[in-house]
Symmetry: C2
Subunit: 325 residues, 2 copies
Amino acid sequence: MDVQELKPFVIGLDLGGTNSVFGIVDQRGQVLATNTIKTQTYTTVEDFVSAGVEALKPIVAKVGGIGQIKAMGIGAPNGNFYKGTIEFAPNLSWGHEGTVPLAAMFEKHLKIPVGLTNDANAAAIGEMQYGVARGMKNFIMITLGTGVGSGIVINGQVVYGCDGFAGELGHSIFFRGGEGRLCGCGRKGCIETYCSATGVARTAREFLKNSDEVSLLREIKVEDITSLDVSIAAGQGDKLAKRVFDFTGDILGQACADFAAFSSPEAFVFFGGLTKAGDLLMKPLKKSYDAHVLRIFKDKAKFLVSSLDDASAAVLGASAIGWEL
Amino acid sequence: MDVQELKPFVIGLDLGGTNSVFGIVDQRGQVLATNTIKTQTYTTVEDFVSAGVEALKPIVAKVGGIGQIKAMGIGAPNGNFYKGTIEFAPNLSWGHEGTVPLAAMFEKHLKIPVGLTNDANAAAIGEMQYGVARGMKNFIMITLGTGVGSGIVINGQVVYGCDGFAGELGHSIFFRGGEGRLCGCGRKGCIETYCSATGVARTAREFLKNSDEVSLLREIKVEDITSLDVSIAAGQGDKLAKRVFDFTGDILGQACADFAAFSSPEAFVFFGGLTKAGDLLMKPLKKSYDAHVLRIFKDKAKFLVSSLDDASAAVLGASAIGWEL
């Protein structure tokens, strides 16, 4: 028996733009202890890693020390699985320029193997190991948060591509010819600019500006409107707010129809803040998909919402990388 | 040693809308003998298979009889790898309704294992084993013929998806909102309607109709114009014909930029009649890709044209399935 197999825990790090959550996870996917630090308090990656190592000490001690830990997995924006690096992450104060060798830095401090991938891939792995995608070999995870991320699984494996960066479906172009909304990536018309939480708020502002229709959303200062406001208003029967979700679902459904032509997945799994809108989003999404998908793919893919709670899914997904090292 | 390993040959069948080419292939990828029958002469699939078995007899005899043949691989339109069937193939007189269990039918007659996949997947396998994609684990094969087909390879495996039909990139939607050209699939705006040989001829007709510009193409009856005519005219410096290829390459380049966001391939490999246009197509294609691809993927994917000759590539690709059975 390999000595490694005796170590019953892994560390998962969900590295987000605001919080970095460290968790200790056992083989059944139980998150036994967590600790959180603020990602952006630190101006250099060295300071961030030092703070992370400190934050790990009490939770590692709880399970009997570092000798009990097999490995660490990190889910991070613009994470490169092949290299263990974060590259040009626009939302990280210490990671937006050049390449940060984060996995190697934690490895040096902790003296255990450390793997890293982007947050959406980590979520897909978590969903495959512990969530609604258990047993699936082909599915597409789409995260609807501040941006639109994706983790693609084909033949039971996450798709990393030639460089470790495959699966940027949020940056598929929806509106061509420079007619679409300006995206953070510098191009126009990306799906992310319409189907993220930010995109939904943007659509609501446009709809309010372009009509005089009464709406509960007019009670909110226009620049403060969030996707949650739109969701609440739609839930209360607000017609304009409902149309915002119809519009969003229509675009996402058409986009998914194209993704089906690529990998013909068994399911699309949605995750993130926007999925809280429930049927407000999922119904128009499914309707649009059915209307636009190529005949041969009709009625094949399931449309699922993640069953893992937001807090633990990302940590679980990140930790799952640890088991594979 | 497995007895199977003693059998040094496989049969490859390239089943096209016009011709069905049977070939005997050795382990080095040499096509030792071929025989061709007309695909559409037969009104039932039983007649087609009987004719195929007859056509195989002389070429199988040349290599020492069926005892020398390990297996047979078939590349066919709408081929389903998982089931060995052809399903709803619009261009086959005996295959456009329902499901035809072609692999099982040949197996019954020949008493050797028979595998089947769609023609573009077969071409991708051929390219990976014998062509410009040798050694590549991640690439996208795009066939530019009467239609636009694709075979996607990820982690060294062809992507079949949950149902065996993945990789229909020709039916990605390019122009949204019902503004695009009507496609054979019943929808509007598919890439196939612009970037196939047929699409190029269609573009030329539109350009001729919408202007009074002088062009060599005006010497041809407008409904008889083919992509080859456009290619020849462009090669002679015809400006309108050149613009047809600029337009085609621009669309295909933008489409490939989206495909890169999916699987980040090491290369795009192009195959089929339209690639004979050479730089007329490839230059605007590459230029458009560079202008539209997400920053993180810039300058990563190679743009290659198949090195296998048209006649043998499809048979080789089909035969390669035989080795894997």
